[in-house]
Symmetry: C2
Subunit: 240 residues, 2 copies
C-alpha cells in the first residue's frame, strides 16, 4: 500500500499443497543499503518458484564480485522490477517446460515489489508470472496478490492516501482478518513492514502471531464494530 | 439466508460473456401454490444452462397432465432438490459431451434452492453442477453462489439467526454493495425476496435498481461507516 508518508506492507505465512499439507514460510523479503536504498519483495503462488527467485537474488547479493547484482546495482526501482520479473518468468518457464513432466500452470507465482532508492520516489509494483508488471498510481494505490477478494472491499473503502501509518496498519489487519476468517489458505503469523519516505530502513517491523494481543483485540472487536455499523445504517422498510 | 423467521434471498442480474458482452437477466425464479408451498431457485454460471433448467421446470409446470410436475408434486423440498439437481446435471452433460465440440467446463452452473412446503420447515439448499447438493444448517445458515468472496466477510460477521428481516436485507445489501464495488461481473439491479415462515407467499419482494434511493443511501453511507468503524478500533502503536 502506497501512502503519502511511505509504504505499508503486510503478508501472511501460510503455504499449502492441499489442505493436508500446510506449512509456514515467510513471504516477505527485504534488502537494504544504509541511506541509499530499501527493497522489499512479497510473494504469492508456487513456493518452489518464489523461493528459487529469492535464492537467486540472494546469491547474486552474496557474491557481488562475480555477477551483476540486481538489487543493489540497478539504478532505479523500475530496473529492479525488470530484472526480478525476468527471473520470475525464467524460473516458471524452466519448471513448466523443461522437466519432461506435466505441469502447465502449476508453477506460477506473482510478486509485489516495493521500495525506494535515494533521490527518487518510493515505488510499488505488481509482477505477473509472465515477468511483466504494473506500477501503483494515485488511482490504484495498493496491490494484493494471492487470495485477494475477501479483504478487498475494506481496502477499497478504507484507504486514504494521506492516512497515518498506524491507521493503515489497522486497515491492513482488518483486511487480513476478514480473509483469515473466510479462507484456510491464508494463515497467521503475519509480517508487517512500514517504510517511511526517505529513510531507507524500516520505520517499523513486526511479526504478528496468533497470540498478539493487539491483533486479537482488533479481530474480536471488528465483528461487533461491523454489526454496529450495519445497525447504524438507515432502516429498511417493507413499505415503499 | 435462513433465519428463525424465514428466508431472505437476493440475486443480481448481470450476465457476461467477456467484459464486452454484458446483459441483464433475472436469476431468481419463484413458484407457489397458495397456502401450500413456495419454491425459489437462484442461479449462477452459464446462462444457457440455467435457462434450460428453468424452462424445463416451467414446461412441466404448464403441462401438468402430460408429465411429472417436479415443483408442485414433490412431497418434500428434499425431493425438489433431487429433481432439480438431476435436471441441472443432465443439462450440463448434454451441452458438454454430446455436441461434438470442445466445451469441457464451459457449461457449468450452480443453484440455490429455497422454500417451504406446508407442514414442514423452510429449507435452503445449494446445488452443485454434478447434481448433488448440501443443505443449510444452524452452523452454516447461508449460501452464496457465483462471485462469492468479496461479500462473504460481512455475512460471516453480521449474520445472526434471530435477526429481523429488515436487518437481514440491510446486511445483504451491504454484502452485494461490496461485491458491486469490486467486480464487474456482478451488477444492478438486484432482486430481493423475503419469505416468512408458514406464509407460502412472499412477505416482501422488490427489484432494486440503480436509482433506488435506499440502496444509494446504504452504498454511500457504508464507506463512511466502515472508516468510522476502523477508526473506533484501538490505536496501533509502533512501540511494543
Amino acid at each position: 500500500m502506497a501512502l503519502d508518508k511511505g509504504l505499508v506492507l503486510m503478508s501472511d505465512t501460510r503455504t499449502n499443497s492441499g489442505v493436508d499439507n500446510i506449512s509456514t514460510f515467510r513471504k516477505m523479503f527485504r534488502w537494504q543499503q544504509p541511506d541509499e536504498r530499501i527493497i522489499v519483495l512479497m510473494t504469492a503462488g508456487n513456493l518452489a518458484t518464489t523461493q528459487a527467485v529469492i535464492s537467486q537474488l540472494e546469491e547474486r547479493n552474496k557474491a557481488p564480485d562475480q555477477r551483476h547484482n540486481t538489487l543493489f546495482e540497478a539504478p532505479t526501482m523500475f530496473q529492479v522490477a525488470v530484472e526480478v520479473g525476468r527471473l520470475l518468468r525464467d524460473t516458471i518457464q524452466t519448471s513448466q517446460c523443461d522437466n519432461g513432466q506435466e505441469g502447465e500452470g502449476r508453477f506460477t507465482a506473482s510478486m509485489i515489489l516495493a521500495g525506494q532508492i535515494k533521490g527518487m520516489q518510493p515505488r510499488l509494483f505488481m509482477l505477473y508470472p509472465e515477468g511483466n508488471f504494473i506500477e501503483a498510481s494515485p488511482d490504484t494505490p495498493f496491490f494484493q496478490i494471492g487470495e485477494t477478494k475477501y479483504g478487498r472491499p475494506i481496502l477499497l473503502r478504507g484507504y486514504e492516501h494521506d492516512m497515518e501509518f498506524e491507521d493503515a496498519v489497522k486497515l491492513l489487519m482488518v483486511s487480513f482478518d476478514s480473509t483469515l476468517k473466510a479462507n484456510l489458505s491464508v494463515g497467521m503469523p503475519l509480517d508487517l513492514l512500514v517504510i517511511g519516505r526517505d529513510r531507507f530502513e524500516p520505520l517499523h517491523e513486526k511479526r504478528i502471531d496468533k497470540n498478539d494481543l493487539y491483533f486479537q483485540a482488533i479481530s474480536s472487536m471488528w465483528g461487533d464494530s461491523l454489526k454496529e455499523a450495519v445497525h447504524a445504517l438507515p432502516e429498511y422498510s417493507f413499505e415503499d
